[in-house]
Symmetry: D2
Subunit: 153 residues, 4 copies
């Protein structure tokens, strides 16, 4: 893997995550940030439910997409940013748990494109059930760090 | 298409949508429900943004997934319900608009599996930009109407 | 669409297709090459069958992938080449026909990434049945024309 | 996993594979058939090449799709058969090797739907390179064994 290792990758990822209002809205947090992998945790609360009281599949998708995208971001240079090109997700079981854990990891870090995977588990009374599996393509934007892109006004 | 046409499909879909707290959370509405197609609208507001001030890709995915899933639901019997098996989505442009419109439609209504597509447009000063394209597989659960499944407690 | 229009795109695409031994192996041809769309035709013959006498799903995938990839190639500069990044395909009906037609088209032509779709139809006694639907991401390699890449020895 | 274990699954899979003319056409073989996983091997020969002398991406897709589909088939009852509903594949490196190995495995075996993955490696002078990654949905057709479906005439 030819990717430059940035000693401050965790800080960079944490800052970016903190600026995503949509993650705050659903009450997601990102307690794990390692080289090539992250975890997003989501408590089960009423605001993220669908009509049967499980966590909405779209919310499951949000945390899978973000966990894998940030796993990619841990592997790029501080002067680059990442974009989700596309992803495919299988929803395999109802997201029925006290909380959800999305684990994202890099499968192949290319210079321009990074392929990732994420698994989402529902945790109920300590038992994990795999409820979603995702495969994703991320694009690296060289020379465009997140900060350099400026905020929209 | 061999699907039984339910004269009350719009009511059934509207009721189901209204019970999805996650759609309320992001402030989405579903003003269009026709046989084989629906539209979900989402205002651009700060709670659904990502770090650059655009609508979060995960939120774009939520409305695409739901618009297409409900398009499938318009075509099944009142005694059946629908589940998202999987979807694949390309994010093609930043979701930069005053509001977003997700248009879901059925491509092939099978008895057990329904294939759908959704497009998400960002509307800015009246001009539409295609920002996401989704292809989805829906499963029909015969004999399991939404109401018969009961709410989780 | 900002893509440079190459007046010789059809010739370029035809030459590339002719050098794909795998297309010759399955007896595929490409009778339609237009700006942003192509068609690949495949006769039904015993060599491409699966165990029930229909055309093999993998062969359906081959012609869908190629039709859409070449649709993308019609829109890039003569000094660029294209690569399939990924695709997702739903197989919706058995490929039961006298011949198959794969229709590829460009949905969004970006500078680096092009999003395409393909439909594959089985034609039986003049009647078309949609048997597969594909959504694909293509990468444009600028400054790397197919000819400049040289043949492997 | 509630799937009935069929002691003759390997024989059943081997028979089905042997009746796929398309696998014979590309010279693929299936030397590994275990409960929940299979391997398909493909020699690199001129007939399966694309224009640069690598194995055609569509052929890579064929062996990935089949390896994962047959991995699913090892886990179903002898009175059932399996169908590919859909798959999504990332092509991550040119298929540049003396031969290719596609490894399919079951990720989640449901009663009606089975989720699988496949990896395709190019082997060159004993060194493996991951060149493709696939995620797939398989449908189980209960009460429809392959043999009961009869051959098309």
């Amino acid at each position: 893997m030819s990717h430059i290792s940035d000693p401050h990758f965790a800080e960079r990822v944490r800052d970016s995550f903190a600026r995503q209002n949509a993650m705050t809205l659903i009450q997601a947090s990102m307690p794990v940030i390692e080289h090539g992998r992250t975890e997003i945790h989501l408590p089960h609360w009423s605001g993220v439910e669908q009509q049967h009281g499980f966590v909405h599949g779209g919310v499951v998708g949000m945390i899978a997409d973000s966990a894998a995208g940030y796993a990619a971001m841990t592997m790029v240079s501080p002067t680059a940013s990442v974009l989700t090109v596309e992803y495919k997700m299988n929803l395999m079981a109802p997201a029925d748990g006290d909380h959800l854990v999305a684990r994202g990891k890099v499968v192949r870090p290319g210079r321009t494109l990074i392929v990732t995977q994420a698994e989402v588990f529902a945790i109920k009374e300590g038992r994990e059930t795999l409820c979603a599996l995702m495969q994703q393509t991320i694009m690296v934007m060289h020379g465009k760090s997140e900060k350099s892109q400026g905020e929209k006004t």
